[in-house]
């Protein structure tokens, strides 16, 4: 059973300004629900165009049972995502970096309307300015919102690539040309793909539906540097053509290459959201954890300085 996102009507009206969340409406140039407040005269336009995705005050927790005695158990509640807000604008790549196991994958699931039956969810998600429910997010999944998984293991091993990608023959051929995949690849099974081919197949699978937003969950491990950079360039091209990308990754070095903004994730929430340029200098980073990540990078100090240092 999927749970509906719990929404509060009061949260829908942003700071007393007239928000228009009508579906199918042309949003260009009008105010979009924002969690960062705009100045009155900025025309309500972000430097990267309007909001494609807004996640606001998202919390996800699970009811769990823990053994208490021989025959008894106690119910407990564990919060994995805690009051998280993040936004992706048109033409933008937002990288989510941060501690392993801090709930990044759960965020991706939430945006695609995937909730475990024992999950308790609160908060609001807007896609293209329209308030979403779990059911409407499921409707967008694989259409306007596409997912690029981590590995070829996400493909059905028993289905040939062409059938798996789906879509029309013409659109497939177009994507194959664009990503330099030979037409014969359609007739291969996933295990017959090299790492580089697999990456392009996963991307083609995501793009076949002409999505507006791509969510990529750790798309690079297992790729050598050259292929990983190519993967990043593909996301950049997609964003430059008017899409939005939410890039979930551990690889800060790679993320900094292509992202516009970086959200630093820790303990289930975004502790810092900053322009990619701020990662040039730890003094420009606000939180101790972001600075700690900075110093830990092999290209910087390769040292854990803890959270007292600047």
């Amino acid at each position: 059973m999927r749970r509906e996102l719990e929404t509060h009507a009061g949260e829908m009206a942003p700071q007393g300004r007239g928000a228009d969340h009508e579906p199918g409406h042309d949003h260009e140039g009008e105010f979009k629900h924002h969690h960062h407040v705009h100045l009155p005269h900025d025309g309500a336009k972000h430097e990267h165009g309007h909001h494609l995705l807004q996640v606001e005050h998202l919390s996800i927790g699970f009811d769990m049972y823990r053994r208490a005695g021989l025959l008894s158990s106690e119910r407990m509640f564990s919060k994995v995502i805690d009051d998280l807000s993040i936004a992706v604008h048109v033409g933008e790549i937002v990288a989510i970096v941060g501690a392993s196991g801090s709930g990044k994958t759960l965020l991706a699931d939430a945006i695609m309307g995937l909730y475990e039956p024992n999950a308790r969810v609160s908060g609001t998600i807007y896609f293209d300015g329209v308030l979403q429910t779990a059911a409407s997010l499921v409707g967008h999944r694989g259409r306007e919102i596409a997912f690029v998984p981590q590995s070829v293991k996400s493909l059905n091993p028993l289905m040939k690539v062409g059938r798996q990608i789906g879509g029309s023959k013409e659109r497939r051929a177009e994507l194959f040309r664009q990503y330099r995949l030979a037409p014969e690849v359609e007739d291969l099974y996933p295990f017959e793909l090299s790492g580089g081919m697999a990456r392009r197949v996963l991307l083609a699978t995501a793009l076949i539906s002409d999505p507006r937003l791509i969510i990529a969950d750790e798309p690079t491990p297992g790729l050598d540097l050259e292929l990983a950079i190519k993967a990043m360039d593909d996301f950049r091209a997609f964003a430059d053509a008017g899409g939005g990308v939410l890039l979930i990754t551990h690889d800060i070095e790679l993320a900094l290459r292509v992202a516009d903004r970086v959200a630093v994730f820790r303990d289930g929430t975004v502790v810092e959201e900053t322009d990619v340029a701020c990662f040039d200098d730890p003094a420009l980073l606000e939180t101790a954890f972001a600075r700690r990540l900075w110093h830990a990078l092999p290209t910087h100090d390769f040292a854990d300085v803890g959270e007292g240092a600047r």
Binding site: S102, G195, H250, A296, P298
Partner: protein
């Protein structure tokens, strides 16, 4: 000083062309050797051959002249640490049992790797990738290996966890003259870790 040697190794998967033929390499105790080759060369395959998980079609891997393998009651002195810790642990076995499989894990090893007590009674899916990799390293080091083969072991970890794990591992190897073979896609990390780089291609 101990010496891990691969002599005239040839290997190919069934039905596919050979990945390598007549490959030779030597790693000495205390060295940290990075293997460098393009994607699809077979670096991970070579790692598995070095640690005895795969038999080469020809040639042999020796440690101080003896073939590398586990013997009853004597774990393999060449230990492989895998890229995906969640795939390296039995999902139905609690961590405590999994990491103590080969030998009891000394408390100072758990402390040094930052393995917390409360993790030990959990199942692998209840821990994060970083936590699992710390547990896997505890298991690896519990048998006091002479050589450690590290195949992209920190790719899935955040930068802070990566530093913590490598700091401990480098210190461990230095103190015991343990040799290290490592694979990483990050040149910056390679620069930090390796005492020598082997270009295989």
């Amino acid at each position: 000083m101990s010496e891990l040697r691969a002599r005239d190794i040839s290997f190919g998967y069934a039905g596919a062309p050979a990945l390598f033929e007549g490959l030779n390499l030597v790693v000495r105790g205390g060295e940290r050797v990075a293997l460098r080759a393009p994607s699809g060369f077979g670096k991970s395959t070579l790692c598995q051959i070095l640690a005895g998980y795969l038999e080469p079609d020809a040639g042999e891997v020796t440690l101080d002249g003896e073939p590398v393998r586990a013997r009853p009651g004597k774990p393999n002195p060449v230990q492989l640490v895998w890229q995906h810790p969640e795939q390296a642990l039995d999902p139905y076995v609690r961590i405590r049992k999994s990491i103590g499989e080969a030998a009891p894990v000394p408390g100072e090893l758990l402390d040094g790797l930052g393995v917390r007590d409360e993790w030990l009674d959990r199942f692998p899916h209840e821990l994060s990738g970083g936590e699992l990799q710390r547990c896997c390293l505890a298991r690896t080091l519990s048998v006091a290996p002479r050589f450690i083969i590290a195949d992209e072991i920190s790719t899935m970890l955040d930068a802070v966890t990566q530093v913590q794990i490598w700091e401990f591992l480098l210190e461990y190897c230095k103190g015991r003259d343990v040799g290290l073979v490592l694979v990483t896609h990050s040149d910056a990390l390679l620069e930090r870790l390796a005492t020598r780089t082997l270009d295989l291609a």
